[in-house]
Symmetry: C2
Subunit: 286 residues, 2 copies
């Protein structure tokens, strides 16, 4: 991207400068918070694991009774065109699908599809060396398998997170741990087995990649994770598209293990980086 | 309003034709479904029970950590200016407050305040004579006292409501009844006592007006209402700003009482109309 070239977005069926991307206030996202989205990473012009993200985007749309206005090949063409237009070295692409311009402000109509692309910042080496602290909060997302735009609880908790000197909030429901507002959760037990909550969570693509890692010395599986398990963990980490594998070193008042990012977490981050690298190579060859 | 005068709305600090009222897609309502709103009725230029609606609007904003950009007198002036501009005989005014144009798409910033006004249609005599059928669904709103824009569940259920030949959905949580997506619930027992769920509901202004009715022959109170209570009710009705008192004659497969709107419901509708009329007269005198 040349220094003076503005970022572009896709809206109303065309690629437009981002600063001219507007929705009329009759849109159901504005009127009723009604919409779904998804978000993937683009490295050197290549969207990583795009198939998985598109699968999930279409599934979220279906779960919320919204029809994506573009078939998959057409959507992929738009994504490629946007990538060429913005020409960013490392970026995230967000697709948002809303309930559309509803005349009565309640019934969904023809959905609006927005696609934006922004430069991406990955966790710094300093952050990876320190890890993060999190608080916990009892909340279960309304429709866990759907990536809806509803973040009322997560955003409302930002002040509380800050007041506790924490970086994020881990949700549990009646003591059963689920996920972060924007990331999945994994813990490492003292026997080095790794577990992530099995149900009532978003099917994270990075979570999927960790669970699918080949030839790990650790057992990695899905299961029930309670707050008690969490407080007794040796290590813990979150996974997300932008954060990859990020160590969690304190949960509420409990310092985990040594209070520093642990070896299993860091080994899994390295393994993930290899998988990303392989995906990148595959895409370039293809 | 002259026939050719377009509706106007308040956005970005000024009154603008509604068809030119847009938000940039960085707004947190679009990105994260983050916002609150309120809605009141305007009859012959007079907003009815405005104080109560404004109280609730500021309270919702506070509950969601959003600052209303206008103090109450300034907000009332904007409302009055909009009413004069649109000059509608009977209308509803909706105020929406969003998380604003967030640079990172997550942290709330300076909120955007939108105010729209639309002609209002009240329930027809035919609908009042027939009543409505409702289904039930287990759901508890995330922050019951706040009127957030999150209607993910209510809107997602529209298809199911239609499939059952019903008109609305009554929420309960583990058998304890709360409210409709956009209305409060009341039931009338066979001893003619009237009860509405006490907690975990939005503090509806019409609900408040019913609870505050002077000199009724019926005991009207708040309490715990279970699905069992509902199925054994003699009458039931919903209350809302636009629907006033609307009879409910069937809940799931259970026909209530005679299957027709009952005398207590219709008496309370008449009593509410009197209260509205008195409010209207008071405003004109003042």
């Amino acid at each position: 991207m040349s220094a003076n070239s503005p970022l572009h977005a896709y809206i109303h069926g065309q690629i437009t400068p981002l600063d001219q991307a507007f929705l009329h206030i009759s849109d159901l996202a504005i009127q009723r918070g009604y919409g779904v989205f998804d978000f993937f990473k683009v490295h050197a012009g290549q969207p990583l694991f795009l198939d998985y993200y598109l699968d999930r985007f279409y599934q979220s749309a279906q779960l919320m009774e919204l029809a994506v206005p573009l078939e998959r090949p057409a959507l992929m063409e738009v994504i490629q065109a946007l990538i060429r237009r913005n020409d960013l070295p490392l970026s995230g692409i967000k697709m948002i699908l809303t309930g559309g311009y509803s005349a009565d402000g309640y019934n969904p109509v023809e959905p609006n599809l927005l696609i934006t692309q922004q430069p991406l910042t990955l966790p710094t080496p300093e952050l990876l060396a320190t890890g993060i602290k999190v608080i916990t909060h009892d909340y279960l997302r309304e429709i866990p398998p759907a990536k809806t735009i509803n973040y009322s609880i997560g955003i409302r908790l930002l002040k509380q997170i800050k007041a506790h000197g924490a970086d994020d909030v881990l949700y549990h429901h009646k003591g059963v741990v689920t996920e972060f507002p924007r990331a999945n959760f994994f813990l490492v037990k003292y026997d080095n087995t790794v577990v992530t909550p099995a149900t009532q969570v978003l099917a994270g693509i990075t979570r999927r990649n960790i669970l699918a890692l080949p030839e790990q010395p650790y057992s990695i599986s899905v299961g029930t994770v309670t707050l008690d398990d969490v407080y007794q963990a040796k290590e813990a980490f979150l996974t997300s598209t932008t954060k990859r594998v990020l160590p969690v070193v304190q949960i509420d008042d409990v310092v985990l293990g040594t209070g520093k990012p642990g070896p299993v977490t860091m080994a899994l981050l390295q393994a993930l980086l290899q998988v990303e690298e392989q995906q990148q190579q595959t895409l370039i060859v293809t």
